[in-house]
């Protein structure tokens, strides 16, 4: 009898098990739309500006599926930047030519005294020219990336233009290092003379003496030179930082960060080039006796008196007890 009771128990529990299975199984086979809950391209793009997912390959950056922002960047690179560059650089050149034709070279009004005073020592000149040479190569190779294709490529053909651009790119990448060192050294060695002060306000009010025969007083650096200093330090710092972000892709940001870096890099570079054209002008054909400061490192005492009267007084006070400029500086 015990075996019969066990048989009943087993059968009942078996039936109960089957009932549970059948209840937990698929409930009906009605038509469902699997896309109703699925991700949607347009919705994702509106929400996040880009579509991202998971990839099983090691290159995790390829997990970004679609990122349409490149289109706006393309607009900037092909159109906006060319206008910005064209207007600032050609505009600056035009202003300088008009200024030169109307004003001419700023002459040394009291003539040369024959005595000179040291303005920049050899280390300062070395740093200046290292930075300047790098800047010129960087500027030309950079302008080639923006303007080479429409202007130079049709003239020299595909092969020659690619060869030149390849070398220009290498030069651009490698000379960025001495350029950056130069900017840092310039920042450190001339910071003392470049803090804006009250004298600059007067200098600026009188237009720096660019027009007419005015000679507003200035210490070692006048307001114009201070402006150039800060353009070099801030502009140079910005182009260096953004440039390295582009040279080492993905170290700092994804593609969108690199697009932004390129925008900042190129706009600052265009403005920088325009500012440097003005700097080169006033340091060469724009002013008599100015080039010597960075050339031989010494300037005529009369030049110093006309353009940097307060600096000359400072130097004289330091080198000799007499109020008059001594001949010791020329020795």
């Amino acid at each position: 009898m015990a075996s019969f009771a066990r048989f009943i128990r087993l059968t009942l529990s078996g039936l109960a098990f089957l009932l549970v299975i059948s209840m937990a199984g698929p409930c009906g086979a009605q038509q469902i739309n699997p896309t109703a809950s699925s991700v949607n391209e347009q919705q994702l793009l509106q929400e996040f500006d880009r579509i991202q997912g998971r990839v099983s390959i090691p290159d995790q950056r390829s997990g970004i599926l679609i990122q349409p922002a490149g289109r706006e960047w393309r607009e900037f690179r092909d159109l906006t930047l060319r206008w910005i560059g064209g207007i600032t650089i050609l505009g600056m050149l035009a202003v300088l030519i008009i200024f030169y034709l109307s004003r001419g070279m700023v002459r040394l009004e009291s003539g040369r005294s024959g005595r000179t005073i040291v303005r920049f020592n050899s280390f300062e000149r070395f740093v200046h020219w290292m930075t300047a040479t790098c800047f010129i190569v960087l500027a030309i190779s950079g302008l080639n990336i923006t303007f080479g294709r429409p202007l130079l490529l049709p003239l020299i053909g595909h092969e020659a233009f690619s060869d030149w651009s390849q070398w220009a790119k290498y030069a651009h990448n490698f000379l960025s290092f001495p350029f950056t060192i130069g900017v840092v050294l310039i920042f450190l060695m001339w910071i003392a003379g470049n803090i804006p002060n009250k004298v600059d306000v007067d200098w600026l009010k009188r237009g720096g003496g660019l027009v007419g025969h005015d000679h507003p007083r200035a210490y070692r650096f006048n307001a114009g030179q201070k402006a150039i200093y800060w353009i070099v330090v801030i502009g140079g710092g910005l182009v260096a930082a953004t440039g390295y972000a582009l040279m080492f892709p993905f170290y700092l940001s994804g593609i969108e960060g690199m697009q932004l870096a390129q925008i900042v890099h190129s706009i600052v570079a265009m403005l920088f080039i325009a500012a440097m054209l003005a700097h080169i002008y006033i340091g060469t054909i724009g002013m008599e006796g100015a080039f010597e400061a960075m050339g031989s490192g010494t300037v005529d005492v009369n030049w110093a008196r006309e353009h940097h009267a307060l600096w000359l007084e400072e130097q004289n006070a330091r080198t000799s007890p007499r109020p008059q400029p001594s001949a010791s500086a020329a020795e």
Binding site: T35, S38, G53, S56, L65
Partner: protein, 198 residues
């Protein structure tokens, strides 16, 4: 002339990565470069979809527009190709591309990225069709042999379609009609500025 396009039917892609493997093998793609990849969105969640993506061979391709040395061109079939002899590895195409297609063999190597590499739609490069130089630089030229890209040919679920844009759009529309749903042609709006109405 046909206008070649890719179309990935995300409702059929099972993320098997056969297209990725087929591409790598067919073209002997350098280590570290993936001309095609499969991205899974919302992985493991309801509504997850996988999409196989490579160069979409865009209409009015942004990469070609921004290239400083003009080394990227569109063929009569609408395929976007480039010359590795002219490429200077500047990275501009890679900033402009919405699909992450251009890649460089030397990422992060002091900015000397090497020559850009991307999907050629199995159509080689500017060298003579089927030549050794072409194969070494760009991989096989199946299009010149009258064959379609291997990724799409190999696709186990026929999710990835390659061929004339109008024909593959038609195939996709018919599928959507028959099964009653479709999540659309991923990337078409960005690449071709059109979608498939279904």
């Amino acid at each position: 002339m046909a206008r070649m396009k890719f179309l990935c039917d995300a409702d059929r892609c099972i993320e098997c990565n056969a297209c990725v493997t087929a591409c790598k093998n067919e073209h002997e793609v350098p280590w570290g470069i993936n001309r095609r990849r499969v991205v899974t969105i919302n992985d493991g969640k309801p509504g997850e979809r996988s999409v196989s993506m490579a160069c979409m061979h865009c209409t009015d391709a942004p990469c070609a527009a921004v290239c400083p040395v003009n080394c990227i061109y569109t063929t009569a079939d609408g395929v976007v190709l480039h010359s590795k002899d002219l490429c200077i590895g500047c990275g501009y195409c890679f900033y402009a591309c919405p699909f992450g297609a251009p890649q460089y063999p030397k990422v992060g190597n002091f900015g000397s990225r090497g020559k850009m590499d991307k999907c050629t739609y199995c159509a080689g490069g500017p060298e003579a069709d089927g030549s050794r130089e072409e194969y070494e630089k760009y991989g096989a030229n199946r299009l010149a042999e009258g064959k379609l890209p291997l990724c799409a040919e190999m696709c186990s679920t026929k999710s990835l379609l390659a061929g004339d844009g109008e024909i593959i759009a038609q195939i996709y529309k018919e599928r959507v009609m028959k099964r009653g749903y479709g999540s659309g042609a991923w990337g078409w709006k960005t690449a071709y500025r059109e979608t498939i109405e279904s």
